[in-house]
Subunit: 145 residues, 3 copies
């Protein structure tokens, strides 16, 4: 049995984070808008399922599946707009009915105003909620507190 050969990508998910508010300890506030492009299939694929109830080939739509991501972060909603960084970390399907992801990742800014800085983001993405809110749990560089 070759586990590698049974691995495949399963769906395309595009997430846009908008109007990020990041309050520092000094009550300084920075409004950030950036876009994370998360593709599980196709030429732009930047996410891989690596664990789940049925191993690495588990579907990200099923409870228990773990995916690792290295998603492009852009200035605008179009994937062809300026690339300003990467979102690196992990997505987990952690809702029993499969309709929610739990995410832990870094947004690493590689160009532009925030180059060299990063944000640590953590939170749930419940598919049935129209708007989702994530916790920004820490920052480095420009966002250091």
């Amino acid at each position: 049995m070759n586990l590698t050969s049974s691995f495949f990508f399963i769906f395309t998910l595009i997430i846009f984070y908008t109007a990020y508010k990041f309050s520092t300890l000094q009550s300084k506030q920075t409004n950030l808008v950036f876009y994370v492009h998360d593709h599980f299939t196709g030429d732009h694929s930047t996410a891989s399922t690596v664990a789940g109830k049925t191993g690495p080939a588990s579907s990200i739509l099923n409870f228990g599946t773990v995916a690792i991501v290295d998603d492009p972060v852009t200035e605008g909603p179009n994937i062809d707009s300026a690339l300003i960084g990467r979102a690196q970390g992990m997505y987990i399907n952690s809702q029993l009915d499969g309709k929610g992801l739990y995410m832990v990742f870094s947004v690493i800014f590689t160009t532009g105003e925030f180059k060299g800085s990063s944000l640590e983001i953590q939170g749930s993405d419940i598919f049935t909620m129209k708007e989702r809110e994530f916790g920004v749990v820490s920052g480095t560089g420009y966002f250091r507190t």
Copy 2:
């Protein structure tokens, strides 16, 4: 070989978080008491092992095993008391002797005073310690800072 068929639940763990203190940046303090019911077996099972040294069937009692959870959160210690939310995320056995878990998860409040809010929680649960303390790393909604 069917990885699914070799998957099984291994033990029942019940964790009660009590008297959570959450200090916001404005020094506001909220004392929260809630109960997370975490069952690896039986009718109430809400946790699945998905990775480990021996794949998805690894025991949560062994170093390296990863479990995904979607646990009910209730107002009282009894599982039949009012359901106020879910605890969604990941438990990892990250102690070489198997006697400790590292946890990263969201508590998502679905009803009651904190409906629509969530807490991001991170920390170690060493079995040999009588009391365990977790870091509340971020909050949204009511708990937003």
Copy 3:
């Protein structure tokens, strides 16, 4: 097929965190220097790969691989210097070219000044950067905010 028998350790990685700054909400600042010894092979091995594109045997040098760690934390850079705690959690290879890790872990102090306290740490470790910075997202005990 026995997944266990195909599991092996793949490389030796030694990481030193120096000059940790931890600003509390009260603007108190503690400068911490401690050393995390992370060995994937040999007698001191304290890390295991548990998931990845090709299952638990995936190389930590490949995108998607997940490793669980229980690393000794010492006062000095030498592994024989005083043991002050453990670093327990998870490392993920989350860079498409394999040259970066995303880490989420607790530093649990077991002896010395900070005994009983812990720090929650999160962030990316990009191999090509000479210095790496992690977010300290929360603390308990001495580091409680």
